[in-house]
């Protein structure tokens, strides 16, 4: 079993005036390829540089400049394709998409329309334990990004920053398999997770490393037909994606229920107003005049090269999650949480290896992640290491400390660090398991409370009170199991 079994969720419906409607959604995700250099020039891709600092003559569209494809970017796209279980096309080609804009210095974007590098694949989008939507990937093509136009720095002038011009992007095109705003967000989350596992895109939506165009159409619930879609461009937050889909679906339903029809068009989402509006009028619609880029030869890659990349793929989230359930006996929910980030999963495995997996998951998910989240920290910033947390688990397993003491120990490790066993020793936190010592304490408690003893003999539930007194007297260090047994015996229950 490399995958967990799942059922497809019901498609959510929107109740209209005349009946129920279903949303049909497909996404085109633009993911910036993790690479030091741009797709067709040697210029740097570092984020946050001074405007126009990372610009080569090629990026600036100077006369006579020619693109040369960056092999590493192709490798990254192939790795992504393999990670999405997609077909890799050994022969692909670059095309020019022509349009005029100041942040597109060449007057065209080099992309792949006719022969993309990556073909059909899939993403399993988790929608809760036992539930997942299989979203088919139609294709992934490699293309260059445009620059940035800035219109609000001066009342009369516009400014252009070409730092992003020519940066390598993957456009990951899904089939219209997504059925609602939550699924769309979950799809982007899952895709982002896979890309981050692969190291092919950092998935940083604030910096623009991951943007999505969302295609939305609606149809009567239960129908198999596809309605006319609208494309909402350039969404860079999960929240906006969901809000835009919600608005757009209702807008289309209102039109259709009114007897109207949907114009296929490109729209923009305004976060301030929470609505979508047409991006350009029909007269301004672009004709991109795609044609094969004559500056680049068709891209031919070898199967052996692809196989080499395949062999170097890391274990991916779905496999890892299934393995955690299988090997460590953790719940599917916990396995999902533990595998959200590769580093967190690695941390968990370091803790769980050779120990009780469920206990390890419990500590990592509840104690550690809970604490990290509270302080807004990532796993890499954790003050408690996997070795330390493993030490805590070992002390529990050996009966050296109780669960309650373990929580105190965790707090000490979080605040001060140190070796868990040594802390337990030096601070006298070790659990008392010596029966004679515990018996002595019990005898004392019994001797001091004869009235309670009488009552307990009538009402055995009062044994708990004696246990509490003993724990109090030992500062919580007495082994609770031992105390329970001994108290019962001493009271003759």
């Amino acid at each position: 079993m490399t995958h967990l079994d799942y059922a497809e969720p019901e498609a959510p419906v929107i109740a209209g005036v005349k009946g129920d409607w279903e949303m049909v959604i497909g996404l085109e995700v633009h993911a910036q390829i993790t690479s030091q250099a741009k797709l067709f020039s040697g210029a740097s891709t570092a984020f946050g540089a001074e405007p126009n600092a990372n610009v080569s003559f090629v990026d600036a569209g100077m006369p006579g400049m020619l693109p040369v494809v960056n092999e590493y970017c192709i490798e990254q796209a192939v790795r992504t394709g393999l990670g999405l279980k997609a077909a890799i096309n050994l022969n692909s080609a670059f095309d020019r998409k022509n349009y005029f804009y100041p942040d597109l210095p060449q007057g065209y974007q080099i992309s792949q329309l006719y022969h993309p590098l990556v073909g059909a694949g899939e993403v399993i989008v988790d929608m809760g334990p036992g539930l997942a939507r299989r979203v088919r990937i139609e294709r992934i093509h490699v293309e260059q990004d445009a620059g940035k136009s800035i219109h609000d720095m001066d009342p009369a002038l516009s400014f252009v920053d070409l730092n992003r011009t020519g940066v390598a992007l993957m456009e990951i095109v899904s089939r219209p398999d997504i059925r609602g705003p939550e699924e769309a967000a979950a799809y982007v989350t899952k895709l982002r997770q896979i890309l981050r596992y692969l190291g092919t895109c950092d998935g940083n939506m604030q910096e623009g490393s991951l943007r999505a165009d969302v295609n939305v159409s609606v149809r009567p619930a239960g129908s198999d037909a596809l309605g006319t879609r609208c494309e909402i461009k350039n969404m860079n937050s999960m929240r906006f994606i969901q809000a835009a889909i919600n608005f757009e679906a209702r807008r289309q339903i209102a039109i259709l229920e009114d007897g109207g029809s949907i114009d296929q068009e490109t729209r923009l989402f305004s976060p301030d107003r929470g609505e979508t509006r047409p991006m350009r009028s029909k007269e301004e619609a672009h004709d991109y005049r795609y044609f094969p880029c004559p500056d680049l030869l068709p891209l031919t890659i070898e199967q052996a090269w692809v196989d080499g990349i395949a062999a170097s793929l890391p274990e991916l989230p779905d496999e890892k999650k299934a393995r955690f359930v299988r090997e460590y006996g953790v719940t599917e929910y916990d396995a999902g949480v533990l595998t959200a980030e590769r580093a967190a999963a690695d941390f968990f495995e370091d803790v769980a290896r050779g120990r009780d997996g469920k206990a390890a998951a419990n500590w990592v998910v509840n104690a550690l992640f809970g604490r990290l989240n509270k302080q807004g920290l990532g796993i890499a910033d954790s003050p408690v290491t996997a070795a330390q947390l493993g030490g805590v688990l070992d002390l529990i397993a050996a009966g050296d400390i109780s669960g309650k003491i373990a929580k105190d120990l965790f707090e000490i490790l979080w605040a001060e660090g140190g070796d868990p066993a040594a802390i337990v020793d030096t601070r006298g936190m070790r659990q008392v398991t010596d029966e004679a010592a515990i018996e002595a304490v019990i005898d004392q408690v019994i001797a001091d409370n004869p009235a309670q003893v009488e009552k307990a003999r009538v009402n055995p539930k009062l044994a708990g009170w004696f246990v509490g007194q003993v724990m109090k007297a030992t500062g919580g260090k007495a082994n609770p199991q031992a105390v329970n047994t001994l108290v019962a015996r001493k009271l003759g229950l």
Binding site: F57, A60, G64, V69, Y108, P294, L297
Partner: protein, 494 residues
Amino acid sequence: MSDRPETIAAARAALRAGDVTAAELTAACLDAIAAAAPLNAFVHVTAEIARERAQAADALLRQGDAPAMCGVPVGIKDLFCTEGAPGQAGSRILEGFVPPYESTVTGKLRDAGAVMLGKLNMDEFAMGSSNETSVYGPAVSPWRAAGSTAPLTPGGSSGGSAAAVAAGLCPAALGTDTGGSIRQPAAFTGIVGLKPTYGRVSRWGIVAFASSLDQAGPMTRTVRDAAILLGAIAGPDPKDSTSADRPVPDFEAALSGDIRGKVIGIPREYRMDGMPDAIDALWQRGAEMLRDAGARTVDISLPHTRYALPAYYIIAPAEASSNLARYDGVRYGFRAPLAPGDGITEMYEKTRAAGFGAEVRRRVMIGTYVLSAGFYDAYYRRAQRVRTLIKRDFETAFADGVDAILTPSTPSSAFEIGALDSADPVEMYLNDIFTVTVNLAGLPGISVPAGLDGRGLPLGLQLIGRPWEEAELLDIGFALERAACFVSRPQRWW
């Protein structure tokens, strides 16, 4: 100036022997250029760069073991970007543009010690066959028809390069050839012009016209010079993905003139209706000369030839419409004055309307049209299929044992400047009828001066070779050159 070496080979010998210095040779060329203003061949003279390079070359020559081109003055077509020297591609839209980089090809010449004299006139963005679309005004041929003083075109688009070499202003020049722009002007001016196999020479730093067809090449007085100059500029370039990773043979060493046993194809489809008798006669004489030298001529068929020109005038403008999109007035070159309230669209429209000449605008519009949604399949895709068929025609001929193909270079001799002003643009396009097939098929082609027509104007014959076999092609051209013994020179009138 008559004792100044007029070929690369002669200059090389004189420089190495110490009979002349690069500085002297350069000074003489600069004088000749200054005296030849009526030819309008050089449009930016880079005297300072030339003198500096000549000095450096002389130093290198004194050390001995200098490369072949060391100290040899050359003219560079305005299409090449050369660091610190203006480069406008013959267009107003690149007014004032001084590239901060050097094209691979001119860089190779610079590194070999060649002396750049300046930039040469050309049709705007290499679009034209008469040099009349240039922002600098037409280059003028040093040749005149017998009994006439009417200015003739040197051909185009490398008209300035052809005029300069034919007039003896420099021993050699670089041209570029997208549909015949080296070979047609070479034929019109009685010099040698070679278009190498596509991919033999780097395109990096050369202003792009039609990327899948453009190729730089030598324009020289002799076949030997073409071999020397090609050797200096050829070779793979990591900056040009379409340049081929193939070794560069010693082209000059391959010149034996011994073509016994070679098979020369004579394509029947190149016999056009209305072809001037002089052209037809020259073609037949050329075949005879090659037979006399021991080659065998065979009639061959290149059946898709008639579709070449239409296919070319779809593919080349399509690529050009995209390649020229970058000239938008945003970053460099010309920007039209704007009216208050004008936005980016007005800036594009005004800049490109005023910055591009009529022929460039026409081709940008044709190219935009053929790539438009709904027309792409009918035009561009179909033209690409034709291109494949034309390529296959040649492959079949070569597979049948043909070593090279002999055709006329042009359908006529040089015409008067302005002669086609009021004609259908297609009349001008017909100049390329014998040369475009070679670009479409990516083959090497050379025009060798082979005779004069009835008006005393030069005519050229074209040899088309197998891909990557420039050495063999040059050798056959060498034999043709010897047999044709073309020694005529234009009478100096400027």
